[in-house]
Amino acid sequence: MLRFLVRRVLGAIVILILISAVTYFLFFALPADPALLSCGKNCNPQTVALIHHNLGLDQPIPVQYWHYMVGLFAGRDMPIGHCNAPCFGFSFANQQPVWDIIKDRYPTTLTLAVMGAAIFLTIGVGLGLISAARQGSLFDKIASGISLTGQSVQIYFIGPLAIYLFADNLGWLDRGHDVDWAHNPVGSITGMILPALVMSVIFWSNYSRQTRSLMVEQLSEEHVRTARAKGMNWRYVFFRYALRGAMGPIITIFGIDLGSVFGGAIITETTFGLHGIGNLAVAAVLQTDLPLEMGVMLFSAASIVLFNVLIDASYAFIDPRIRLA
């Protein structure tokens, strides 16, 4: 197990370095000049050159990248001051330390991801299990219909509708606020219920259909039929045999989805005006803010890679046939 983890972590580091290099070098393929965004209205070539120097853009790109990577592990001195490791640099747009910005935004993304995941896993898997248990019933048909509809709609469509109905009209739920665990722990939860519910819709719709399909497949397997033929309790067989067999693919999808939402749910955050990692990613791109783009990209990629490692490791616990080496 330890060997497996060490190997996967080393592999993950290589992947992250590759992602960082690709992102960094691709940025310079864009024609946009970030200096122009910081040049004021009466811009002139002297000011553009000065800003290039201030931002370190007057050095060769490989040198800039090397300084960036060194800063990540050892910190670095920059024109605005010293930047401690992990140094993601200072935002081109507002000169704030990128790592501080990410730390400030992450609680919102984390809360949204955890609450959303709890909802979509519970509802999705729950609906799928019941549908599989009652194949062909009215419940199964209704659940399938709802799941199909849920998968078809988009967050930017149902989000505003949900805000209009549940927040503005009925007043049952908060329209969505950033978390502030230190000063308002209750509000941090209530402010995230509606966004988490809306975000979960497309996920649980998928989980419901996947779970049902996998369970139906498992229930028709020979070992399940044999267990039933031997007189084992239906409930025991359903959960112990069939569900365990269906868990592997569900957990694989869950790991990928969880990594993605931990890396920022762009559409949900934008729809609800939340200040998470997804919203930050959009701002970074629109402002041609290389340090922020790099920071968000690496952070999001690290989330996905980390969850992939965890999921791979978890297979051993779910399915004893799998041996990690």
Partner: protein, 586 residues
Amino acid sequence: MRKTHYAAVLAVGALSLSACSSGGGSGAGGTADVAKPTVQTITLGSAADSQGPAPAVDGAKKGGTVNDLEQDDFNHLDPGQLYVSNQQAIAPLYSRTLTGYKVDPKSGSEKLVGDLATDTGEASADKKTWTYHLKDGLKYEDGTPITSQDVKYGIERLYADFETEGPIYVQTWLSGQDYRKVYQGPYGGKDLPDSVISTPDSKTIVFHFQAPHADAPYAMSMPNVSPIPKAKDTKQKYDQHPVSSGPYKIESYNAGKSLVLVRNDNWDPKTDPIRDAYPDKWNFELGIQDPGLTERLMAGSGDDKDALSLSQSAAPSQMVTILGDSKLKSRTVNQYQPFVEELSINTSRVKDPKVRQAIAYAFPTKQVQQALGGAAQMDVGSNLLSPTIGGFKPYDPYGKLTNPNGDPAKAKELLKEAGVSNLKLTLAFANTPKWRNFGTTLKNAFAKAGIDLQLQSIDATSYYTLVGKVNNPYDLYRTGWGADWGNGSTVIPPVRDGRIIADGVANYTHINDPHVNSEIDRINAITDLKTQQAEWEKLSEYILKNDSPSVPFGYDKFFNIYGEGLGGVTFRQDLGVINANTVYVK
């Protein structure tokens, strides 16, 4: 001032939705429901006008929290770095300048008055030397007095290499275009010599400009002419928490997320003719995207009842609803901004003035207005200078007002005279729904004049980089420019002076007319402001008629709705934003 590129990019989607929803009919897309905005000449106030306190707003009361929803981050709080409209809209709340704009809450009329200074300045006969006296009782948030040396220090900081985003009027007037070669800021231990700025005592500051500058009082209202206490200066880090000289101080700032301003108890309203400062607190929520932002202001539920957006115009997708509902419409603001929209013609490529004039005749102003969101968002225009400029005199050499659908026959005639047939031109546009719509509208209209318009989309974040290159491969592109104050001196020189053409410079058309260049120097030297304003108008008309470097087609307008819990919502025409100084919570 400039709108942020970011804002422009994000506003696009909503605007195109409006164009679709209005379908080119009435409502937001038309003019029937839109009142004509008032335009005023902003004059210089007297010493009496410069005395505090600010005129009270009828029925206003102190207290409460105003919630401001903004699409964009402020990016900077350091007064030296402020320029774009959303920054300038909030600057007066925590930062005072030598002069400032006073809005009469009853009539809405606006005057430039002394803010920190006792008046708008005493000038020498040649308008090269300007003297300002500070009022008594001026203090920072920590209770220390504001001195003329602090104002001088604030200007010295503008020479530092990290102060790149603010206006450069005062620095260049004092030390020339290459002002950073002359002086590198106060951090090397050197001060600007008295021959440049002198402070004979702690309440007097004297500016010695290299040339006459009749509009110096207006330049002194720019946010970077602000006092900075040397002892509290933290260079770049000052940006995160500047020391307040205004009625509010910064409680917290999370970049891109929130800003909270609370009362500065050391601000004395008796010294301030501009700010009523009724609310106890300003709570800014940043990064709220449209149409959600506008929908929140319309719904006004919870804290949004006391919400507004100082600088953000409403999502055009909501315009029909707002204008069609008398209750919603009763809490809207719709006034001119100082921006002029134009189709810039790359004169390095389209060299024949007759061809450029043909383009102007073919331009369908009315259809473009519809495509860009309708009359509440933009008025059709024909001048290079906005109606908000002093001495504005409408001129219309290409019939953009009398024949707003364009004159393809006249365009064809001019092309024939120029000996041009099968004319192909490339229009570059930012690849967003709004500007694609703009491009399609032009393509259809130009086809009627025999011009084959090739549409070339550019990623929105790269747009200004690419069209700002002197050797760009495009014939036409849309640009916009806003006056910093009501004088052509902030429009014509930066946009039409041929001697400054370079990559990234705002002379996007590359016009380089020796007559225009010499006129710029002559008019800049005129010491009477009214005469100067009239001369800029004349020159702008000359440029449009003779050089035809662009097709001005619209004057931008601010349109937005505010929460029903707010009162005293007035407008700043100088900036094109809601005036934060008179707002109160009911």
